[in-house]
Symmetry: C2
Subunit: 358 residues, 2 copies
Amino acid sequence: MADTAETLAAPDFSGWTCPAPLRDQPRVVMGHGGGGALSAELVRYVFAPAFGGEVLSGLADSATVSLGGARLAFSTDSYVVRPLFFPGGSIGDLAVNGTVNDLAMSGATPAYLSCGFILEEGVEMSLVARVAEALGAAARTASVEVVTGDTKVVEAGHGDGLYVNTAGIGLIPDGVDIRPQRAAPGDVVIVSGEIGAHGVAVMSVREGLEFGVEIESDTAALGGLVETVLRVTTDVHVLRDPTRGGLAAALNEIAAASGVGVVLQERAVPVPPAVANACAVLGLDPMYVANEGRLVAFVPRAVAEEVLAAMRAHPLGTGAAVIGECVPDHAGMVVARTGLGGTRVVDLPLGEQLPRIC
Amino acid sequence: MADTAETLAAPDFSGWTCPAPLRDQPRVVMGHGGGGALSAELVRYVFAPAFGGEVLSGLADSATVSLGGARLAFSTDSYVVRPLFFPGGSIGDLAVNGTVNDLAMSGATPAYLSCGFILEEGVEMSLVARVAEALGAAARTASVEVVTGDTKVVEAGHGDGLYVNTAGIGLIPDGVDIRPQRAAPGDVVIVSGEIGAHGVAVMSVREGLEFGVEIESDTAALGGLVETVLRVTTDVHVLRDPTRGGLAAALNEIAAASGVGVVLQERAVPVPPAVANACAVLGLDPMYVANEGRLVAFVPRAVAEEVLAAMRAHPLGTGAAVIGECVPDHAGMVVARTGLGGTRVVDLPLGEQLPRIC
């Protein structure tokens, strides 16, 4: 922080009172970017009061807005992953897939992306080009178009090679109303495939670890998978891509937003053996590890089998599995039935176990 | 750049051939973020080939896209200005006004913004809150809503306190077609007010300079001013906010996109005496200094007087002035008739004279 915002920012902040829940956090910590409880506090106590508005507090991955008679999904994410390239993908892939997936989780058909680079002075132009190429290729795969962009450069030592932000817009089909608040008792919880690969893939290269087999990130654009599901039924209640904070954070957010309880069958959650082994070595719980090409769906029991079959028939859903259900008990709480017949609470993580995972 | 992208990025870039015009730039320099010739090269030779698409190459401040029957403007900018607060505004104001103005320059009515923060670990929460408050207040003034957001945190030493990206969408009214390609010989060039204040305001605090009077940034949202003009006539050919690279860059881009020549009357360009003095001290040309609350309009001669009067009747256009015209000669080039009767070429700047001005 030498010679940065603090020294340069002239105004007197003495009139600012830190909201009570943030009182122990007078400074930003890594966890504020982790997608867990600390991130939620930052939004609730700092951003929401400043920005106002009801849409922001909707807690969905994207906002739903109306413009010129069209119902649109609108979302943004900045990407600061380290390293920039990892087994199975790169920051360019994430920048497309992450934002496209946020749109798809409202049932929207992702259409257009913006792209803003913050480059560090001195970074190799070849690196910028490789990231741009990966981003462009991912956009073509996801059937979205990068239509507008911006580049800023900061002095050496004030960045980290390359950060990228994308925002995206997509069209929400008529009759589709998918949002966390719609989870209801009786809903079946389906995950589209094995979890934990993205986080472990990034972590393994960052720490220089090897686990016998190379674990590749699951990064993928899920627009096509969602479209497949919506062809079976538009009565999908919730979709969520379990990124930062993993499946645990996604399920907790849905339980909190809808006021239902979620019961998981721990043994039904698909974790590849290589990921399970790596997590054991790294001291991680796969339930909290980020995914970038998976979704969790809450659907009425009546359509669950059909949705599951449709997912399994799609290349990005071959590993889909029913992992739990919604109950009227323990509202807002997620519990897991363990393999031994016990029950444990699956908490919202405070931050992200693995900083800068996306 | 220690311990960053370069060391962490595993892939072999040896197959990448630096495009010829970039051959002298194997690494990113500050000017690549300056909005001048270097920025244009980066887009042309690195981003455009990677992303493909025709819309990106349209060179406008925002993209025009169709979705669900609505004609939308879509734009993004990242903000890295130093210091975060300066006379007349802050990064929060810029993050709203910059993106809103990019939308307005296509004639769109700005409606919704996304907001992505990249925070540096250790930054004071009060600083984040003050920036958020400024951003929220600016959004309310501009009649736009911040509807979706994201926060990432990077380790101390890998950021600069706070960066922010906004993307925005707006609705383009029927019958409006405003873009750089539409400039035509005979068009009258109008600027909405005095130029140079933003760049000088930022520079003065950054360098700790005083010029007798405090110069305040002109940062403002121009949606209302554009609406006022469009009530007079929808036959506006080009609108542009002369930000990075100043009036000179804006006019050069329009001349290049449309293939017209632009002739300025140097003495007609309104430069406040305080800005002129400061520029003399700093060795800057006001024509190249960034503005954040001004626009330049190209309109047919038949409606020029009416447009000028409408601008002057608006609080953000009181200083509006005719500064030149479009001619069929010297296609793609901007020249200025000097006070002494001579003519000089007004070049596209290579980069921005003042790095991190927005």
